[in-house]
């Protein structure tokens, strides 16, 4: 991999990171609610007011406050939660592993199944199997995440259905209990992403299958397995990787937000949900800022992966 290419990608990420943090600063800190009067007693004096405002940093210049916010994000010194008084970084450190454990199986399964179905539909494009898969994916795309969650809960977790899994909660201490609590959220995540994934992967695969070099490989006796798993798959790695990298923040944050608040799972999503409902600014600004930064970093890493996958990128 060549160094100039990497440097260029990293430099490209900087304005994005500044932008993301600036937007969250603007929304959460600058235009966010003024906490002065919450902290003061009744009928405060002017001195008390200005003292509290100074303590909260409200009297500092706009850019300095933005600088403070950036410093908080970089040092991970994110202040104390308004509701629990615990340091935000401690809360994040405790809840992040739970969220990852919750969404990882569904994320991986959703992509693998989407990839497999997309490949299948693309290979048999125009045939009945393709039509079946594509119709099913339109149906899948038309069901709301919330409907899927509630529906699965009725079917699998209540006496009105199979009653196999817990209605809510997360008492995980070994593999058995992990599977017991993770199954329904995983199924929900797979169902909600599968339709979109299948459609996307099919489009990518069809484009690759119709390329000239696939016909060349065919003309030299390559078997369908070789065609699909060597030539098509390796050539489509870039759009596939991009898709996966792009959807990481969506699935981890948005998925865990809904799944955890619904099933009462103590991950980062539930913390965020509670922060939204109670207006816990230190937590919200940390979560928004950090995910934005992580997303940009993921994109940069993604661009670097390109050059490993495709020899045409990163040409010196």
């Amino acid at each position: 991999m060549n160094r100039r290419y990497i440097t260029r990608r990293v430099l490209y990420g900087i304005p994005l990171i500044l932008g993301v943090t600036f937007v969250s600063f603007l929304l959460m800190v600058y235009f966010g609610p003024d906490k002065t009067y919450e902290l003061l007693g009744k009928n405060p004096t002017t001195e008390q007011i200005s003292e509290v405002r100074r303590a909260l940093g409200y009297d500092r210049a706009f850019l300095l406050r933005y600088g403070d916010y950036l410093r908080e994000l970089v040092t991970l010194d994110l202040g104390l939660s308004d509701s629990s008084g615990e340091p935000v970084s401690v809360i994040l450190k405790r809840t992040l592993p739970v969220s990852i454990a919750l969404v990882l199986p569904g994320f991986i399964l959703g992509n693998l199944m989407g990839l497999a179905l997309g490949l299948l539909a693309a290979w048999y494009r125009g045939k009945w199997l393709d039509k079946l898969v594509m119709s099913a994916s339109v149906v899948g795309m038309s069901v709301s995440f919330l409907v899927i969650i509630i529906g699965l809960q009725i079917l699998l977790c209540t006496p009105y259905g199979l009653n196999l899994f817990p209605v809510r909660g997360w008492q995980v201490h070994d593999l058995g209990s992990y599977l017991y609590y993770v199954t329904v959220p995983t199924l929900a995540l797979v169902l909600v992403t599968l339709g979109y994934n299948t459609r996307f992967y099919r489009a990518v695969m069809v484009e690759e299958i119709e390329r000239d070099h696939i016909r060349t490989a065919q003309a030299y006796g390559a078997s369908p397995r070789e065609l699909l798993f060597r030539h098509v798959l390796k050539n489509s790695l870039i759009p596939v990787l991009t898709r996966i990298m792009f959807s990481v923040p969506f699935v981890v944050i948005s998925g865990s937000l809904l799944l955890e608040s619904y099933f009462g799972i103590p991950g980062i999503g539930l913390v965020t949900f509670n922060a939204i409902t109670s207006g816990d600014q230190p937590i919200l600004k940390a979560v928004v800022g950090l995910t934005g930064v992580l997303f940009v970093l993921a994109l940069t890493v993604n661009d670097m992966l390109y050059s490993l996958v495709d020899p045409r990128v990163a040409k010196p």
């Binding site: 125009g126 045939k127 390329r211 000239d212 070099h213 016909r215 060349t216 490989a217 065919q218 003309a219 030299y220 006796g221 390559a222 078997s223 070789e226 060597r230 030539h231 390796k234 050539n235 996958v309 495709d310 020899p311 045409r312 040409k315």
Partner: protein, 322 residues
């Protein structure tokens, strides 16, 4: 008489569109002897490439109907083969060189890997043996640094070098037949000469039969012994190169010949061209397909189809040959 390297008997290709089907290739037969180069010429859209793909069995299986009584390579009929039986033949007994070397090779694998995959598939052998064969075949097409070429990705080479590598891939298993579909069309003149030279050399060296699909008669004259003129899915004239260029019998062949730009021409191709256009498949006229554009047309030509008089040395399908 020895068995021809490639013999095609009564090959037809029909495209199905809704209820009706259209002939893209209409009952053609020909054979090519070992070590012989035969050209298939005609304007674009007359069914040349489809013929080539049909011989290899590479046309899509839905919407296309391919029929033939036999397609033989060294006497062995391959027309009925499917699945792995057909894949065994492709690249080992018959190989194809494609028109556009820019897109015909997989961009994410090195040339060495692509060629060795072909050799390993058909001929097998140890890793070192395969590597040796790949290097040999790259050397045989004229690369002085075959190791470097084997380690290169397609985008790192020029169009001409890519096409040479493609020829190396086609010859690595020393197939009996090579079909070259417009192998030089996308290349500049000097590269074109190199490619044709290498093909010629390998043909004489390995006694390969070559079917050269081309619309460029100058190329054909330079590198082929025999020539077949195709129009709207039918063969109109089949003869050796010398006879065609000295005396074309079919009016269409004569028309094509008059289109070859001469060095002395200041505005090539504009001076002579056959009037009218190749009709789209499905809009072929009854009778001789060339009749609407033919200067020698008479009433009979519009009614019945002239057959190719294969018993003659210079076969022609025309009621009023020149």
């Amino acid at each position: 008489m020895s068995t021809p390297a490639l013999a095609v008997h009564d090959l037809s290709v029909r495209f199905k569109t809704g209820a009706d089907s259209r002939h893209a290739v209409d009952g053609i037969s020909f054979s090519i002897d070992a070590g012989e180069a035969t050209a298939l010429v005609g304007e674009s859209g007359c069914g040349k490439t489809i013929t080539a793909l049909a011989i290899l069995g590479l046309l899509p299986d839905s919407g296309v109907h391919v029929e033939s009584s036999a397609i033989e390579i060294n006497g062995r009929d391959i027309s009925g083969l499917t699945g792995s039986r057909r894949r065994e033949v492709l690249g080992r007994d018959i190989a194809m060189i494609f028109q556009n070397p820019g897109t015909a090779l997989d961009p994410v694998f090195t040339l060495g890997r692509q060629i060795s995959a072909v050799y390993a598939r058909h001929c097998g052998g140890g890793k070192e043996h395969i590597r040796q064969k790949v290097i040999e075949s790259l050397e045989a097409v004229g690369f002085s640094q075959p190791q470097d070429i084997a380690a290169a990705y397609p985008h790192q080479l020029s169009g001409g070098m890519r096409q040479l590598a493609m020829i190396a891939m086609a010859t690595v298993c020393k197939p009996a037949v090579i079909i070259a579909d417009e192998p030089t069309t996308s290349l500049d003149n000097s590269t074109r000469a190199v490619i044709l030279q290498q093909l010629e050399r390998l043909r004489t060296l390995h006694q390969t039969a070559i079917l050269l699909v081309s619309h460029d008669l100058a190329t054909v004259r330079q590198s082929c012994q025999k020539v077949m003129v195709m129009y709207c899915g039918r063969l109109l004239e089949k003869t050796d190169c010398e006879s065609l260029f000295s005396h074309a019998r079919h009016p269409y062949s004569a028309g094509l010949l008059s289109c070859i730009p001469q060095i002395s021409d200041t505005r090539p191709a504009m001076i002579n061209s056959i009037p009218g256009q190749v009709p789209a498949a499905g809009e072929f006229p009854p009778g001789c397909h060339f009749a609407p554009r033919c200067p020698r047309v008479e009433s009979m030509c519009n009614q019945s189809v002239p057959a190719l008089d294969t018993d003659k040395q210079q076969a022609v399908a025309c009621f009023r040959p020149l």
